[in-house]
């Protein structure tokens, strides 16, 4: 079974190549078919392998297949090798299955767009790269996938390339992540140099063997890789690119900027958790950074007008939860939240896309309203997704995963209690901002009249995802509900036994369930009081024509709306200096030096030229002077 793993990333890759080569000549229907078919193959194989795995787990709980030697030098080697263990299996499943649903959704969503086949080529290439990323057994191969998904993200964010703003967003997303990637690359260099290999398993073994607990090398390596992860996962301080990346088509946002790519950072940490486990200080940094991310992103989400931006900030925040879990060593909790998040966030994005489809691509929540009856399918889908995101108890998958994280936080030593408190506050905010959207969009009076209707390719993915969003949490339940720990025991061979020995006080658990409900209530309360509408803020981004009221509250909201000023800060700290440098160097000052040498030669030429005056007497005089000079030299030198 293991030796067919390679087909899983290969199928979308081939699909992408075919689409790239011939897509322009194919009909849209055919392009969509090929694009989807390749993912169908991947998804089916993934599911088959997963089923097989459950029935008959391989020895040592992992599979490896070596494809070919990529770089093989005496001092350095990297092999193209796939490594499948429960963690990567789950990732693979999520990517291929959710990817499939989103592909199906896209075939209808993107209908009529120019560049239809290009879209699927990119999307297939993305899936291939993402699968390569999760399956790679070599850090450098992982990096190939890592950058590959980055490029696909770039291409897809800028898919509608006619608008310059999209191009800007695409570049921003790529460059911000590239900055982080460079740190990761340096981390790879460091690990490779110090440990002699970047093949993940041997490398981790060596690290554990050679490096002391809390050692400086381990800390440096882990920190550098972490920076890469933070960048890709849009965590503080790299969170600024993700909201802008919403410029891409909504299915792209769903697949790349919610379900899969942005969680690559978390996957990286989990993949290398023995390394991170060596350095508690780095873990603490992760946790603190995650809290900052959660709070800032949630607060920002609270004041956005654009539905996709709300979701984007919420993604940042939710991945913050995953990192928070990582920060306290709750690896399987992070994985579990990844799983549920992938499902419900894909659902939310697809629903948002489905709404936009019917509302002339309207994304402003204050121009929607009353869609509960008009778009009932989407209403239910979005509601289920929101419930899951808000982690409403029992009915949603998110509740279980978030509960698991909260529990781990409470139990972790040191800062644990404070982290728990912050996470709890974040949970309130989460519920508030998402139900703000729910109330504004689906209740109240109709502001924009929907047109058209949904085809089956829109509805089926929504329904399937909605079902999953409400049920998938049952894979892992707290002890007091039911003794289901399918998920964590599945991951146990890799990540070890989770530390939930259930000594949790009951009030702690209860607080975790009450917080989201509280958030919903706040959201509803403020909706009823009209607060949301009053504080909607100006239309569009950043153009506060100056007539907004100058109250304290509005100032704070403006600050929050702008994502806590990070964009402004980076613009002044990084972008402007760079542009200044470009401006002063643009004409190559070094060249001026050479040109001035040439000019000097020309000036000499001009001066000497004047000596050639053509008059005999002058010539004779010069000759005489020359003779005098020679005689002087001969006599006195």
């Amino acid at each position: 079974m293991g030796n067919i793993i390679w087909i899983i990333p290969a199928a979308p890759l081939i699909g992408s190549i075919l689409l790239g080569l011939f897509g322009a000549r194919w009909s849209n229907r055919w392009s969509g078919f090929i694009g989807t078919l390749s993912i169908v193959i991947s998804a089916l194989l993934s599911v088959a392998i997963a089923v097989h795995w459950f029935q008959d787990p391989p020895v040592d709980e992992h599979m490896r297949i070596m494809l070919w030697r990529w770089i093989s030098l005496p001092e350095y080697s990297s092999y193209i090798e796939f490594y499948l263990d429960p963690v990567s299996l789950i990732m693979m499943l999520v990517i291929s299955v959710i990817g499939l649903l989103i592909h199906i959704f896209s075939t209808e969503y993107m209908a009529g767009e120019a560049g239809y086949s290009r879209f699927f080529a990119y999307l297939n290439l993305f899936v291939a790269s993402m699968l390569l990323l999760v399956l790679a057994n070599d850090l450098l191969v992982l990096f190939v996938g890592w950058e590959g998904v980055g490029v696909c993200s770039y291409l897809l964010v800028g898919f509608w390339f006619h608008k310059a703003a999209n191009g800007y967003a695409a570049r921003k997303s790529f460059v911000v992540t590239r900055i982080a990637d460079v740190a990761m690359l340096v981390g790879i260099l460091l690990l490779s140099n110090a440990l002699g290999t970047v093949s993940i398993q041997p490398m981790l073994a060596k690290a554990a063997l050679l490096w002391p607990h809390g050692g400086i090398m381990a800390a440096a390596g882990a920190a550098l890789l972490l920076i890469g992860g933070l960048g890709k996962s849009a965590q503080f301080p790299f969170q600024t690119w993700l909201p802008d990346a919403m410029a891409g088509p909504t299915p792209v946002s769903a697949l790349i900027h919610a379900a899969t790519m942005v969680t690559a950072g978390m996957y990286l940490v989990i993949r290398l958790y023995p390394l991170f486990a060596l350095v508690p200080s780095v873990l603490t940094v992760i946790a603190v950074g995650a809290v900052i991310t959660i709070l800032t992103a949630s607060l920002t989400a609270l004041v956005q007008r654009d539905i996709k931006r709300v979701l984007a900030y919420s993604t940042v925040a939710q991945i913050g939860y995953m990192f928070l879990a990582l920060g306290v060593g709750a690896w399987s909790a992070a994985m579990f939240h990844f799983l549920t998040h992938a499902v419900f966030k894909a659902l939310l994005f697809l629903s948002a896309g489905a709404i936009a489809m019917r509302l002339h691509h309207e994304q402003d929540i204050f121009r929607m309203g009353g869609l509960r009856q008009k778009l009932s399918v989407v209403f239910w889908a979005f509601l289920i997704g929101s419930a899951s995101l808000a982690a409403l108890p029992v009915v949603s998958a998110g509740a279980f995963s978030k509960e698991m994280i909260l529990a781990s936080l409470w139990e972790s030593p040191g800062l644990g209690k404070w982290l728990w408190l912050a996470a709890l506050f974040g949970a309130v905010l989460t519920a508030t901002y998402i139900f703000r959207v729910v109330f504004l969009v689906f209740f109240g009076e109709v502001k924009t009249e929907p047109t058209g209707h949904y085809g089956v390719r829109i509805v089926v993915p929504l329904v399937l995802l909605a079902i999953a969003a409400s049920t998938i949490g049952w894979l892992e339940m707290p002890k007091f509900m039911a003794s289901s720990s399918v998920f964590s025991s599945f991951l146990e061979p890799v990540l070890g036994h989770p530390a939930t020995e259930s000594t949790l006080p009951h009030w702690v658990t209860a607080a975790g369930y009450i917080a989201p409900l509280l958030g919903v209530v706040i959201g509803f309360g403020l909706y009823r009081s009209g607060y949301w509408v009053r504080t909607a803020g100006p239309v569009g981004q950043g153009n506060d024509g100056g007539q907004a009221e100058r109250s304290m509250g509005e100032g704070v909201r403006r600050f929050m709306r702008a994502g806590f000023g990070f964009d402004f800060l980076y613009d002044r700290l990084l972008v402007q200096p760079f542009l200044w440098l470009v401006k002063i160097l643009r004409n190559d000052p070094i060249d001026a030096i050479f040109m001035s040498a040439a000019a000097a030669a020309m000036r000499f030429h001009g001066a000497l030229r004047r000596s050639q005056i053509g008059q005999l007497r002058r010539y004779a005089g010069m000759l005489a002077l020359g003779s005098m000079a020679v005689i002087v030299i001969m006599v006195f030198a």
Partner: protein, 496 residues
Amino acid sequence: MILVWIALIPIIGGIVVWPAGRLHPLAPRVISLAILFVDLLLTLKLIEAGGSGAWLASFYAPWVPSLGIGFRFNMDGLSWILVVLTQILGIIAVIVSWSDIKDRVGFYHANLLWSLAGSIGVFIALDLFLFFFFWELMLVPMVFVIAIWGNENRRRAAIKFFLFTQGSGLLMLVAILALVFLHQQQGGILTFNDAALLATQPTGPFGILAMLGFFLAFLVKLPAFPVHSWLPDTHTEAPTAGSVILASIMLKTAGYGLLRFAVPLFLDAAHHIAPLAMWLGVISIFYGAILAYGQADLKKLIAYSSISHMGFVLVGIYAFNAIAWQGVVILMVAHGVSTGALFIAVGAIQKRLHTRDLAQLGGVWTDLPRLSSFGTFFVLASMGLPGLGNFVGEFLILRGTYAVAPLVAVFASIGLIPAALYSLIAIQRAFHGEATVPRRVSDFGARDVSVMMALALGIIVIGVYPQPLLNIGAPALGNLVPAKQVSALPQKGRGG
């Protein structure tokens, strides 16, 4: 003997195609193609044959015996790789010129072939004088190509190109002579044979000075900061095929020269200068990238990006280890392919839209989707996208450098960020966006597509399976520095 033919065939070919141009404009093209193919086949056969000892093939005949100058041609894996690169890109240059060049076709192809012959000679000559002879020889035909078939400011560019490279070459000549006489003084015979001179190993200030002669010449040709400024002007004015040969082949002669001569002949001095060289490389990386970002001319942008990439080569060469050197070879090949392809793309854009100004471009994708997608692909490749050839080279260089000078490696890595900036802005401003004026132009035809496909395939193969190249290069790189000299060196920390 086969080596002589490899260098000689294009020269003879040049003499043949010049008059052939009078018969029919097609004749020079076909003959040139045939000649280069034959040459390529001859070279390919060498790797099959294997050869004896360290060399795949070697040849010696006296030339100027009274000065110890000989026709000493030797080919090892390193030379082989670069010669094959030269021939393949030469073929592509001929194909690219197929519809570009319309007047004086015979003379054009003669010059093309002669400059290729010069480069091939540089890669296989192991007599310092012979090497220098070819080094200079390849310039003149190139100057003709630029000065006759170039763009508006072609004469100025050709002269600038010539002055920079030739002037620095003279420094190298002085250094070669100094080395040769030192060798003689040390009791050796008067000879320009590289193998004999390797034993000289001058030290102290003399070694540094003589080494600098080589170093500067190669630095100019590479080109690296601060002696790079001929490159952008030259590229801007050169015809497409000229740019391809210049960027893909001629710049590589500098990397080759550093690896083959500047470092092994002056190990001690090279070690002394290594930190400086590496930091120059880092500065080149940044300087090239920042200037590339600021350019309004697409061709100039690519030219500056070459400076940035060659910075990596410089860093890698002075890292003094096998990994970095392997990376240097891979990067040189990959850069040759990717940048060559980019110049072809720009040439095609210019031919169709009559501008290279990024302000006037934009929205090209709508009109020329095939051209634009290839363009985007190669921009991404040259940006160092993992999975494509350039990344392998850059990574190996960084990996090798990190082992000896971590700080340099870190800064060189940071240089990848501005690389992303200028690459993306190029894609954005050229291919994306909205066209300012409606255009009616034809996209890539079958010939262009097949050329670009071949190059793309090349860059992908190097990216995912560089092992054959590594295997061919390994013994050659291992033998560059004689083992005796290596062990004699003090093992001191260097760099960063």
